[in-house]
């Protein structure tokens, strides 16, 4: 003895399901953008907290701390959200100074990401101020919450159309 089921409307359902990956990617990207914005804002605030000292000739002729000019460059620089990458199973991006260009500093044309990196990681002649790592760590929970809220608020878009 067996039991049989008849399901009608499968064609419509399958057509609707075909659209799910596309809709999910759109929802994920929009929610991710909101989360990345939280991180970018935190990086902006962290830049304001960078300690500076005017250029000084320290031992060996090197400066020891970020200069006010370098801080000003970072404050004006674009703390952008990188182009989204979608490999079919996940959407990801990065936040930082990657595409912020160059600045004139001490008579040299210097890539702005290099200035940010030198302050963040320090050098053998410069005090480390991990403002970016700190911003990332401190915005992680807020960014995750923003992404979750972003997905929840778009749940209707993931419904299969009739």
């Amino acid at each position: 003895m067996g039991m049989s089921f008849t399901v009608s409307g499968m064609d419509e359902l399958l057509r609707g399901m075909d659209k799910i990956p596309e809709k999910a990617a759109k929802v994920a990207a929009e929610a991710l953008y909101e989360g990345a914005g939280v991180v970018a804002d935190e990086v902006g605030r962290a830049v304001q907290g960078i300690a500076t000292k005017p250029f000084v000739k320290a031992k060996g002729g090197f400066k020891r701390m970020a200069s006010p000019e370098e801080k000003a460059i970072l404050m004006q620089a674009r703390k952008g959200i990188a182009k989204f990458r979608n490999n079919g199973t996940e959407v990801n991006t990065s936040v930082g100074f990657q595409n912020s260009g160059y600045a004139d500093l001490d008579g040299e044309r210097v890539p702005i990401p290099l200035i940010a990196n030198a302050i963040n990681s320090g050098t053998s002649f410069r005090q480390k101020q991990p403002f970016m790592r700190k911003a990332f760590a401190q915005s992680k929970n807020k960014a995750t919450a923003a992404i979750e809220n972003g997905i929840r608020s778009r749940e209707d878009e993931l419904k299969i159309d009739d």
């Binding site: 990681s121 320090g122 053998s124």
Partner: protein, 121 residues
């Protein structure tokens, strides 16, 4: 002071604070961190900031601090320190560490490695 001792000291620090990071100087550094010692390799270990906290009963129950290990070396391969630092981080921080940056300083000819790690405070 060895790196192991340094990491243990960081772990045992009761209130490392976030504005005045704990800094432990590795044995090859004979001077303060901001003046470059005349050594082939030198480095620092320090706690940088409070990374996260598990809260309960209106208080922080567990606090995670993020720190970093920096190695500067004139030797491209780090003169053996890279392997030692990685082994120590593996032993004391489990999976909570990573190589955050590896750079070359044109001005000094030094190679710079920066590892970040998290420990419970």
């Amino acid at each position: 002071m060895s790196l192991v001792t340094a990491l243990k000291a960081l772990e045992q620090e009761e209130d490392p604070g976030t504005t005045d990071p704990v800094m432990v100087t590795l044995p090859m550094a004979e001077d303060e961190w901001y003046t470059r010692p005349e050594a082939v390799s030198y480095g620092t270990v320090r706690l940088d900031f409070e990374a996260d906290a598990l809260r309960g009963d209106d208080d922080k129950q567990i606090t995670a601090y993020e720190g970093s290990v920096d190695l500067w070396s004139l030797a491209r391969n780090g003169a053996g320190w890279v392997e030692l630092i990685v082994a120590t981080l593996r032993a004391h921080c489990g999976g909570s560490w990573s190589l955050n940056a590896h750079m070359y300083e044109r001005e000094t000819g030094l190679f710079h490695w920066e590892w970040t790690f998290q420990v419970e405070g």
